[in-house]
Structures are given as structure tokens and as C-alpha cells.
């Protein structure tokens, strides 16, 4: 029975009771009307329950799915292990690179400052300095491995976040520009371009010609 039909049936029964006066009605009729009202209410709440149960079931499924996806995101693993690990690796890359650069530049500056008065001694100094420069260049192997680990971490996070957003149908909302972003935009702080300069030195020279 539809909810509207059940409500109408109750309303009619109530009107009948009011119009005639309950005390003057025979007990059987009052009981009959009460029975009709009970039936109508049972049908009404029954129809109401079915639609709400459907909604609750959908919500429960969605919440369970969200819980599964959040669990799959492994947010604690990312926060506690993967991101700090990547940060440590990048710090090491910066440190190793600086150390190697310092060694190479110091050797080059040392050679430039030397006077080649004794050619044999000068050649020995150059050879020794070159060997130290070669040794310093070995940092590239280690930094390459460290950067690969960081890339792996970023890809892992990207994969998890993508799955999470896709499963829950997450849509990005417009974000207000932060003061930091505004500063970068206003002062044209774009940073280095990928795969070489965005504008070549020749093109820049043409602008100044």
C-alpha cells in the first residue's frame, strides 16, 4: 500500500470517529476502525522502511568501500615510513652532490693556481688531481640509486592516491591561491624547464639584439 493511500485511509477513519462521536458508536465499529487504522499504519511504515532501508544499505556499502579504500591507501605507511625515507634519500643526494662538487672545484682551482715551472712535477700534480676528480665523480652512481628509490616512493603514492580518488569519485574543488603561489606567479618564479631551457640562449640573444 502506498504511503499516501495509507495516510488517506487513516484520515477518513479519524473523520468518521469525530463526526459520529466515539461514545455513541457500538464497540464493534470502534474496534473495526481501530483495526483499519492499525492495518493502515502497518502498511504505511512498512512502505517507508523499504525505501529507507535501501538508502541505508547504499550508504553502508559506500562507507565500507571508503573504509576499504582508506585502508588500502596505507596512509600511515606513507607518512611514517615512505615519505621520511624519501626525504632522507634526497638529503643524502644533496650532501653527496655538494661534497663531490666541492672536491672537483677545489682540485680544479688548485691546478689553476699552480705554476708549471717544473713540467714533470706539474704533470704528476695534474694526474693526481685528475684521479681525485674521477673518484669524486663516483657519487653519481650512488645518487642515481637514491633518486631511483625516491621515484619509486612517489610512484607508489601516486598509484594509491589515484586508486583512492577513482574508487570514491573524488572531484577536485577550486582552491584559493596561497600567498606563496601568488608570489611565485607575480615574480615569475617558474624554476628550471624540463629538457633544457624553454628559451634558448640564441633566442634570448635575439631579443637583446
Amino acid at each position: 500500500m502506498a504511503a499516501a493511500e495509507a495516510a488517506q485511509k487513516i484520515r477518513v477513519a479519524m473523520d468518521q470517529l469525530r463526526a459520529t462521536g466515539v461514545r455513541e458508536r457500538p464497540l464493534v465499529e470502534v474496534l473495526d476502525l481501530s483495526h483499519q487504522m492499525a492495518d493502515a499504519m502497518t502498511a504505511f511504515f512498512g512502505s517507508l522502511d523499504k525505501s529507507i532501508i535501501g538508502e541505508f544499505r547504499y550508504l553502508a556499502d559506500f562507507i565500507q568501500k571508503a573504509r576499504d579504500e582508506i585502508s588500502g591507501l596505507q596512509a600511515n605507511d606513507i607518512k611514517d615510513t615512505r615519505l621520511p625515507g624519501a626525504s632522507v634519500e634526497l638529503d643524502a643526494v644533496v650532501r653527496d652532490t655538494e661534497k663531490a662538487t666541492e672536491t672537483i672545484m677545489a682540485e680544479a682551482e688548485g691546478l689553476m693556481a699552480k705554476e708549471p715551472t717544473d713540467l714533470a712535477a706539474y704533470k704528476a700534480d695534474v694526474d693526481a688531481a685528475m684521479m681525485r676528480i674521477f673518484e669524486a665523480c663516483s657519487f653519481q652512481d650512488l645518487t642515481g640509486q637514491r633518486v631511483t628509490k625516491v621515484i619509486s616512493t612517489l610512484r607508489h603514492i601516486e598509484d594509491r592516491v589515484t586508486k583512492f580518488a577513482s574508487a570514491l569519485g573524488v572531484v577536485d574543488t577550486a582552491q584559493e591561491e596561497t600567498p606563496e603561489d601568488a608570489r611565485k606567479r607575480e615574480l615569475l618564479l617558474n624554476g628550471p624547464a624540463m629538457n633544457g631551457p624553454a628559451t634558448t640562449q640564441d633566442d634570448i640573444d635575439a631579443l637583446f639584439a
Binding site: 672545484m105 689553476m112 615574480l187 617558474n190 624554476g191 624553454a198 628559451t199 634570448i204 631579443l207
Partner: protein, 128 residues
């Protein structure tokens, strides 16, 4: 007129390695009086305190960028005639045009070589 190789040159960069590279290149070209600053703010203080014949500045620095430094230099009666070369990884055309409009004398995109720096110095300062 020959370039005065003893004139003070201010090199501005937040990476000490880059300052060292430019300092070595300038030394090789004969410039001996080279000072350094790690950002635009420190550079402006040094420029206001002394007399420099050339500024070679990076763009991307905090708290004051090289672009802001250029604007401040060109807005100053005392400093506005100082030659200013931007040496930066900011290679978008909009950066180059903005710098030119702000009054930069020349623009070198990183990474660069000694010949490029030498060529720009000659363009800005004259033969040396």
C-alpha cells in the same frame, strides 16, 4: 674605452657553488675585485653601501629575488646606471621579456659556458 678590470663586481646567487663558478670565470677573464651576496636583499645593502661596476645576479632567491633586485636598482637614483646581467635557470620567454622591460642589460640562461659569459660581458661593458 677599456674596461676597468679592477672595478668591483657583485655576484648574487643563493648557491655558493654557482658564485664560485662565476668568480673563477671572472678571475680568468681578469676581474679581480669580486664580491658576493646570497640574495637580493643582501645585494641591495652592499650596492647601497659601495660602488659597483657590474651586478651579475640569479633570479630565483629568497627573501628578495633577482628580479626584485633589478627593479630596486633601476628605481634608485644612485644605482640605476649600474650594468646588470641576469644569470638564471628561469628560461621562459615571459621572464626574459619582463627582465628586459625592467632594464636588465643582458640575460644568460643556465647552464652556461665561459664563452657565453665572456660574450655578454663584452656586450655590456665593452672590449677588455
Amino acid at each position: 674605452m677599456a674596461v676597468d678590470l679592477s672595478m668591483p663586481v657583485l655576484v648574487v646567487d643563493d648557491y655558493q657553488t654557482m658564485i664560485r663558478i662565476i668568480r673563477n670565470l671572472l678571475n680568468q677573464l681578469g676581474f679581480k675585485n669580486i664580491e658576493e651576496a646570497k640574495d637580493g636583499k643582501q645585494a641591495l645593502e652592499k650596492l647601497n653601501a659601495g660602488k659597483f661596476g657590474l651586478v651579475i645576479s640569479d633570479w630565483n632567491m629568497e627573501p628578495m629575488t633577482g628580479f626584485e633586485l633589478l627593479q630596486q636598482v633601476r628605481a634608485s637614483d644612485k644605482l640605476k646606471a649600474t650594468p646588470f646581467i641576469m644569470v638564471t635557470a628561469e628560461s621562459k620567454t615571459e621572464n626574459v621579456i619582463a627582465a628586459k622591460k625592467a632594464g636588465v642589460n643582458n640575460y644568460i640562461v643556465k647552464p652556461f659556458n665561459a664563452e657565453t659569459l665572456k660574450g655578454k660581458l663584452k656586450t655590456v661593458l665593452g672590449e677588455f
